[in-house]
Every structure is written in C-alpha cells, then in structure tokens.
C-alpha cells in the first residue's frame, strides 16, 4: 500500500545524511501511560543538545481513544510540525492500518510483535521492526497496570538503541524523576533495558535516522506556554486570579497555583499572598477579575474561545469603565465546542473587538512559550497604563506542548507600571477629582482606588457617562468619552510589542504571520529561497498594529498572510485597521486543528506566486486520516485574496 504523498513531501533518500534530521510519530491509546515515555524521549534528545519539538495530538477523552505524539529533530532548528514521518511507533491496534499508511517510503515501523502482523498491513517500502513488548513485559513484571505502563518505557528503550540516544542521559533522567521512589526507578530502568537490549540483539543499530550530540540547547529550557504564562503572571505581581476550567487553558491556572504555593506562601503562618477563585463560569471569572482590578490588584483570568464568548458582556464593561484586566486566551478549534484538544488561531477578530457597541482591545500574540512569559508581564503593564482589558492570545500548540526556548531572564530592576493612580496625598491636594478628566497625551485619565480617600470616591458605571464620570444621555458628552477611548487605543500602538521583521536581499514578496505560525513560516521561507523565491517576513505580535506593520505592507507589492483559521481573520484585521489595499494581500490558511507545517506554507505561497493554483492540495494526510487539513486558497483562481 502506498502512502498518499504529494510532490512537496520530502521522500527520504538513503544517500542523504539524516543525522539529527528526522521525524517520528508514536501511536498510543489514551490513558496507558505513554505520555511519560514520549516526553522522556523528547527530553533526552533535548539534553543531548539537539533542537527538537514534541507535539501531543490527543483526543478529548480520559481513557481509551487514540492519541499520537510526534517528535521532530532538526539540527537547523526547523522544529515546526511535520507529517513526514520517518519512523512510526505503532502501539495502538485500533489505528494500526492508518499509522502504517503514514510512514514515508523508505521509513521504519516499530510494532509489538507478540501477535503476528496481518499481511494486509504490510508495506514493501517500509522496514518493519517487531519487538514482542507484551510478551517481554508479561515475563518481566507481575502487576497488570505495570505491564501496560512498562511496554511504553520498553519502546523508549528500543528507540534509544535505534536512534542512538545517550543511555547516560536516560539513566540520569530516571534518577532525577524517581529519586524518592526506588521501586519505580528499578522497574523503569528494567523496562528500558528490555527494549534496548532486544533492539541491539535483533536490529542493526543505529538506523540511518539517528542522533548525535550537539551543543544547541545548553542555554535553553523545555517548557510549555501555559506554564510560561503562569510564570509571567507570577513575576508581574498578579495577586487575584479567577477562572473556569477549560481545555486547553486549565494548566495556566494549575501552574499559577503551584508557583504561588511555592513562592507566595508565608513559611511561618501558611498565609497566602494570592487568591485564586475557581468561578462558576467564565462570566463570573472575568467579573471577579474586573472587581479585583477595580480594587487595585493585578488580576487575570485564563480561558479559551468558548470562555471568551461568555466574557464578551463584561469585557465591554471593563473597556468602557476603563478597568485594567488581563485575559489569557489559549485558543482551540471552534466554533461552539469545536475540537477542544486541537489548535487554531480562530479568536483573532473575536478578541480584537470583543463585546457589543464600539469596542477595540489590546491583543498580544506570543509565538512560543518564551514570549508567553514576557508578554504576560507586558500585558499587565499595558492594561494598567491604558486602563483597559488586554488579551493575550496563545493557542493549544504553544500552551500545552513542550517547546525548546532560550532560558527566561528576569531584570530585578523591573517594577510594575501601575499607570495613573492617585495617592492619598495627591488627592488631599486636589481641589476636586473627576474620574475621566483630565486625560494625558495617551488619552488616559488618573484613576483612584477604593479605600484611599473620600475625595477619590466616584461611581464606576457601564452606563453612559461624561468625562467627569457622571451619568449622561447627552450625545456630545457620550461621544467625547468614546472618542477618547479610540484615541487611547491608537496611542497604544507605540507601546505594544513591535512586530518582528526579517528581510531577505532581493525579496520579491512579503509574508505576514502571527503567533504559532512562526516556525513553519520561517522554515518555509528558507525552503522557498533554495528554490529561488525570496520573501521578507513580518510577524505581528500585537494589535493595534505598530507603524512597522504599515511600513511593511507599503513596501511590498504582494503580501501573503499566513494564519490558522478559515476566514483569514488576521488578513481581515489588516484590511480594516491599516490603509493596505486588499488587492495586495494573499491568504494562506490551515485550520484543521493540527499545528501548521512548512510544507503547507510552501505550497500555499507557491500557488499564489507561481500562479499554479491547480497544484494546491491539502498537505500530507494527517493522523486523523479523513480529516485532512484544508489549506491554500480557493480564491487563488482569480488571484483574489480573502476576505
């Protein structure tokens, strides 16, 4: 049976050196303990100093459904997702047929040979490596649960032999992990040896796809975006957090709680310098954050798209009453419940203009966990400087997968920008305080906090108000305030994180992307360059767009906008919020739920630039098989971009 491949898929050639340049996929059933084996493998490769990524493609389920883990190793740092698997670890009978199909020709497949393989599943162009894991583990372990769990650890041992993973690294990791559980350490070490020794005895090790120690990760860490976000909130000095559990953002608050327990609990009294409230829903979660921020605390909530939908009402209140709140949106696939465990960038427009009436928000777009950390801190500073809600849009891929990123740094000289807040002394000296007047060059007026001084008392309201803070239904008075809010938003363009621009000599087009598209786009641009197509690259990191975004748009005749949603939301936002003529823009989109691949970007861009729209096809079939990722642009036929 032939794998369905398009022209873009790189068929591995035996002559090419594949050291530190390959991808594997591990097929498991959810809840069998495969996650620890898979992350052990990825971490071992990281510790060998080699750039690596791990993508967990998991179902919305606790136990039993198929789950996959993908590891990509690339010495040049191209670690975006790829579906060109050189090696498949097929441990789930349920998905076996599909998994066999997905291996690249010339690749390898590792399976449990305790039971005979059905001849129909065989492929002549793939090398099958059978290890009787069930048999080995049944003989070596007595407990039923242990037998299941250790099969995973055993295949990790086999991969260590096949890929030449440093066994000292693995031994060190097991020691760290199980330092307090000697029995677990022993069984894990035993299982690793089982798989390792079997491979050494039966196969030619290592395979041509193999690892060799490098020095590329020593200044890096392996961290997921949600943990990094939580760290940012901790370092920003957030004291109140309210949330409602929702995949894929739940681990933001889990991590924040763990960090606060560690760093914000008084050792003597056990008292906490934080308050985390699990709310009854997202309406309440954002309400609590608004209440806390109104009262002077740095406060945030974390959620995903469905939560943002519910929060829309009160986001408008925070915007209009000018209350600084931070909302972390770890995007998943919508609309409605959508696919909770799949990734997308589908909330760009929703967050930019959340709530009814005229509203516009500050939105930050981190591309990786490193930026999640720094942008989380920035989000609080911006929220308080501009007295407005700030959204930070991460996504499931960034938030829940482990990424190799540079070590996070902290400047101890940092102090929060609390914006314009009047002190008791300042209020004492003032003849009279008015909440929304006078404003400064950014359109921001000073606020007061409850409990400080009677002179600072005012009535915060979501109803129509004039610049003094009083209720109004008078057109001019109303407009004066909302016009200032628009000015404030525009002023923020010089304070939000600047877009990252990478230029190439002789570039003939520009590419704009956002957030987690970054690695795939950079890899795609490198590939295109080797084929004679040179493009400049701008990665948007915030809304409102800074002047550099307008300059980039102005300096290119053709700009391809790459994003992970169906409706070209970033492209739409660019046309709405910059003077760029629509005709300049082309759209490349992938939105099936798996992280973007360079091949998809290459195909999409080539289709636009070489005028070969007929060649645009979905990239390599994904593990969901039938659920192929749509991509490219159906509008390419007439050369028009979305929207």
């Amino acid at each position: 049976m032939q794998a369905t491949l398009d022209s873009e898929a790189a068929v591995p050639q035996p002559s090419v050196d594949r050291t530190n340049d390959f991808a594997l996929k591990l097929a498991n059933a959810n809840g069998t303990g495969s996650a620890s084996a898979n992350s052990l493998l990825m971490q071992a490769i990281f510790r060998m100093g080699i750039p690596v990524s791990g993508k967990n493609l998991f179902p919305s389920n606790i136990q039993g459904l198929p789950t996959w883990y993908e590891i990509r190793v690339n010495k040049d740092g191209h670690t975006a997702r790829t579906s060109e698997y050189d090696l498949m670890v097929a441990m789930n009978a349920e998905t076996y047929a599909r998994d066999v199909r997905e291996v690249c020709p010339g690749g390898w497949l590792l399976y449990d040979s305790t039971w005979p393989l059905h001849p129909a599943l065989h492929r002549p162009d793939v090398t099958f490596l059978g290890v009787p894991y069930a048999k080995l583990c049944n003989e070596a372990f007595s407990q039923a649960r242990e037998r299941t769990l250790m099969k995973n650890i055993a295949y990790a041992g086999t991969l260590a032999a096949l890929l030449d993973i440093d066994m000292d690294v693995i031994a060190g990791m097991l020691k760290e992990k199980f330092s307090r559980k000697a029995s677990l350490m022993e069984s894990n070490a035993k299982a690793i040896r089982l798989g390792y020794e079997y491979a050494k005895a039966h196969f030619e090790c290592p395979l041509p796809i193999r690892l060799r120690k490098m020095d590329a990760t020593k200044n890096s860490i392996l961290i997921d975006g949600n943990t990094a976000t939580a760290l940012g909130c901790l370092y920003a000095g957030a004291t109140v957090a309210a949330w409602y559990p929702i995949t894929p953002s739940t681990s933001v608050m889990d991590a924040f709680k763990a960090l606060c327990e560690k760093y914000r609990t008084d050792k003597d009294t056990g008292k906490r310098r934080y308050c985390i409230v699990q709310a009854e829903d997202e309406l309440a979660a954002v309400g609590m954050v608004i209440g806390a921020a109104w009262n002077g605390a740095r406060a945030f909530t974390s959620t995903s798209g469905p939560g943002i939908s519910l929060m829309n009402e009160l986001v408008g209140l925070a915007y209009y009453a000018e209350i600084p709140v931070v909302i972390v949106d770890v995007q998943r696939v919508g609309p409605s419940t959508g696919m909770p465990t799949r990734t997308q960038q589908g909330d760009v427009l929703l967050c930019a203009y959340a709530s009814h009436g005229d509203t516009k928000h500050l939105v930050l777009f981190p591309a990786n966990p490193e930026e999640c950390f720094y942008f989380a801190v920035k989000a609080f500073d911006l929220a308080e400087r501009f007295q407005t809600p700030v959204f930070m849009l991460s996504d499931l891929d960034i938030g829940m997968n482990d990424w190799v990123v540079p070590r996070l740094k902290w400047d101890d000289a940092y102090r929060p920008d609390r914006g314009r807040v009047l002190t008791r002394e300042e209020l004492e000296k003032m003849p009279k305080f008015h909440r929304y007047s006078p404003d400064d060059e950014l359109g921001v007026a000073a606020r007061t906090l409850p409990g400080v001084h009677e002179k600072g008392a005012f009535f915060t309201r979501g109803s129509g108000h004039n610049k003094l803070g009083g209720y109004t239904e008078i057109p001019d008075e109303y407009q004066e305030v909302v016009d200032r809010l628009a000015r404030k938003h525009a002023a923020a363009r010089n304070f939000v994180p600047k877009a990252v621009v990478e230029r190439r000599e002789g570039a003939s087009f520009g590419v704009i992307a956002v957030g987690g598209c970054d690695l795939a786009v950079r890899e795609a641009l490198a590939r295109l360059e080797s084929r004679g197509l040179r493009g400049d690259y701008l990665r948007v990191r915030a809304f409102p767009f800074g002047p550099e975004v307008e300059a980039f748009l102005a300096s290119h005749d053709v700009v391809v906008v790459v994003e992970q949603n169906r409706d070209a939301q970033l492209l739409s936002l660019l046309t709405l919020e910059t003077p760029v003529p629509k005709e300049k823009l082309r759209s490349v989109r992938a939105y099936g739920g798996f992280p973007l691949q360079a091949s998809q970007v290459v195909q999409g861009i080539e289709a636009h630039l070489r005028g070969r729209p007929s060649s645009v096809r979905p990239a390599h079939a994904d593990s969901a098989g039938h659920a192929r990722e749509a991509l490219g642009d159906e509008h390419a036929n007439n050369g028009q971009a979305r929207p």
């Binding site: 990281f46 860490i221 392996l222 961290i223 943990t227 760290l231 901790l234 370092y235 000095g237 004291t239 109140v240 309210a242 008084d266 056990g270 008292k271 906490r272 310098r273 934080y274 308050c275 985390i276 409230v277 709310a279 009854e280 829903d281 309406l283 309440a284 954002v286 309400g287 609590m288 608004i290 209440g291 806390a292 921020a293 109104w294 009262n295 002077g296 406060a299 009402e313 009160l314 209140l317 070590r407 996070l408 902290w410 400047d411 940092y414 102090r415 007061t448 409850p450 409990g451 400080v452 001084h453 009677e454 008392a457 005012f458 009535f459 915060t460 309201r461 979501g462 109803s463 209720y471």
Partner: protein, 351 residues
C-alpha cells in the same frame, strides 16, 4: 437617570457619630425613583446603619447590578466608591473586589430580577463562597424599569397591574440561601425601618455573606390589589419572627427582655446580635429547624420576618483561601516577585 445633587442643609440637631459625621454625611445624591418607592426607605435605613456603625465612608464599597434597586447606591454614602456593574453580575464583581481588599466594608444592592433571574447563579455562588459582604435584595416581584413584567419572586396567583395572574412558582431567596449554606439570612420590609436597621447593621458586621431580602413594594407597577408584594398585603401577612438588636463591641447590653426568649450571637469583631424570638418554637441558629419552620409558615400564607438564621462560625472566603491579613492589592511588589535568582534556579527543573 439623572444626577441630582441634594441641597446642603445642616440641621443643628443632627448628632455626629464617633467619627464626627452626621447622618447627612452618609447620604448620597437625590433619588430619581418614583415617589413612595420602597427602595428609598431601604436607602434611608442603609444610611442610618452606616452612620450608627461609625463606618468611615471611604472604607465602604457599594456595588450593584442593573435595575431600579441597582440605582440606589448613588443615593447613599457619596464618600464611598461605587460600582454600578452589569445585570446580574454584581456578585462576581463584589467577590473579586473582596478578594483584592479584605479591609473594606462591602454592600451589594440588588433586586429580584437582578438576583433571582439573570444573576441567580452568581448570587448562589457568592453565598457558597461566603464572601464577606452585605447583600440586599430589594424585592418587589416585578421588573420596574421595563414596565412591570413579573419577576422570579412573583407568587403564584399574584396579579400584574393589568390583572394577569402569575402561574409560575416563585424563587424564594430566603429558602434558597438556607439550602446552600448561607451564614446570615434575613427578611425585612421596607416599611419597617425599626426592624430593618438593626438587621442591616448586624449583616454589615457579620463575618461572611449576609443576605437580607427586603420586600419593597413597587408603587408604580405592583402595589395594587391582587399583588402579593404590595404594602397592604405585606403588612397584613408579615409574621415578625425574630427581631434583632445590634449591640456594638464593648457596649453593655442594656435592653431587658424576658429570659428564654433571647439568643445572643457574638460576631467576629466582638459585637453582639441579640435575637428576640417571638415564637418559642423557632431557633435562628439551627439551619434545619429554621428551614422547616419557615417552610411551614410560608405554606400557611405568612411572610416570616426578621433575622431568620445566623451562623458566625462559617468559613468566610478569605479564611478558606488562607490569604494574608493585609489587602492583596496593597502588598509590596517585592513580596510578590521571586526575582531573577529564583527564576534561574526554577528553570533547572525545565531542563
């Protein structure tokens, strides 16, 4: 709604409280509600309660949702920060505010639409969390601002102004609160200031969530014959069950009542609520018995009034969250940020 300032007039007989403030200092802007509205009487009772408790105005935070009732925070304690939020969302906003600064005194003013329909969930969860606040429902059985539709507290058979009878069963905030662990539950009547003021004072001092459901007739849409939330109906059917005296901390309890009919409940700050039971059968410190008794009386068509249940031993939100005594909003940044060395050390775990 407009913003009408009250004329400043100082009556020589206005007595200053311990802070040197008079009743006038606890007032707010002129009410723009209908003349005779029950809500204005409640506002007057709130003004008196704060005045008598000697609360510094700037240490009060007054919050509300949307509706006639929710306008009233403008009409009391103009020296306090106010937050007129969104319909049914005041409990969450008050919860967050209380989380950020535990030293302020919180009062939330809501109505039956705000609390029992659109905000029912939020109110219930604020009760469950035992947020330290006084929560007043100004209950008139109808939506005033949108011209008199039935609310969720309208009784079966109660008639609208146009004569239409309500067929859906009411949500009773008192019974509901008791069933979900409320630690302070009272019902009063806007027309009975003598009963209401001590209840409000006790509720303000209660360490936790104090729910006070105040029947407050809507003179425009729900004060006619056939309504069960009218002045006449309430006066006729009220059953004064437990009257309360609020005795501030360290003040001698001088009121003399026959032995056996009173129960003293000592509040968190040492002050005392003295409860006078009209019925010997009723125990306002026994949740189950109280619920059973109230259910029975209500079945009989009576409206039990007074401080119906109090439990000062409930775990208040901050106690449950184990937060420090100082307001979180005022903690110095240095005590919140672990610093660069800690970050470097922590990252060894991410290798």
């Amino acid at each position: 709604m407009s913003f009408i300032k009250k004329p400043v007039a100082r009556h020589p007989s206005l007595q200053p409280n311990k802070l040197g403030l008079t009743l006038r200092d606890y007032e707010g802007a002129m009410s723009t509600l209908c003349a005779g509205c029950g809500h204005d009487s409640i506002t007057a009772a709130i003004v008196r309660a704060f005045y008598e408790l000697d609360t510094p105005p700037h240490m009060i935070a007054k919050l509300s949702g949307i509706g006639c009732s929710s306008k009233t925070p403008t009409y009391f304690v103009s020296g306090a920060h106010g937050f007129n939020s969104a319909h049914g969302r005041m409990p969450a906003i008050a919860t967050g505010a209380a989380a950020a600064n535990r030293q302020l005194t919180y009062i939330g003013v809501s109505g039956d639409g705000d609390s029992l329909s659109i905000g029912l969930g939020q109110m219930c969860h604020a009760i469950r969390r035992n947020v330290n606040m006084l929560y007043v429902i100004e209950n008139n059985g109808c939506y005033g601002l949108t011209k008199g539709q039935f609310s969720a507290s309208a009784d079966i058979g109660s008639k609208s102004k146009r004569g239409e009878a309500n067929t859906q069963p009411p949500i009773d905030p008192v019974m509901l609160a008791l069933s979900i662990g409320a630690t302070f539950v009272a019902r009063s009547f806007s027309g009975d200031k003598a009963q209401l003021v001590p209840i409000l004072k006790a509720g303000l001092r209660h360490n936790g969530f104090a729910l006070v459901d105040v029947i407050s007739p809507c003179v425009t849409f729900n004060d006619h014959e056939g309504s069960t939330k009218s002045y006449a109906y309430t006066r006729k059917h009220q059953l004064p069950l437990v009257t309360a005296d609020f005795v501030p901390h360290a003040e001698e309890i001088a009121i003399d009542y026959p032995a056996g009919s009173t129960t003293d409940v000592t509040l968190h700050d040492g002050s005392v609520v003295r409860l006078h039971k009209v019925s010997a059968d009723y125990d306002p410190t026994d949740r189950k018995a109280a619920a059973a008794y109230l259910g029975e009386r209500q079945q009989a068509g009576e409206i039990p009034m007074g401080l119906l249940f109090v439990d000062e031993a409930g775990v208040e939100m901050h106690a449950g969250a184990k937060t420090v005594d100082a307001p979180l909003a005022q903690l110095p940044y240095e005590s919140l940020c672990p610093g660069s060395a800690a970050l470097a050390a922590l990252q060894e775990a991410y290798r």
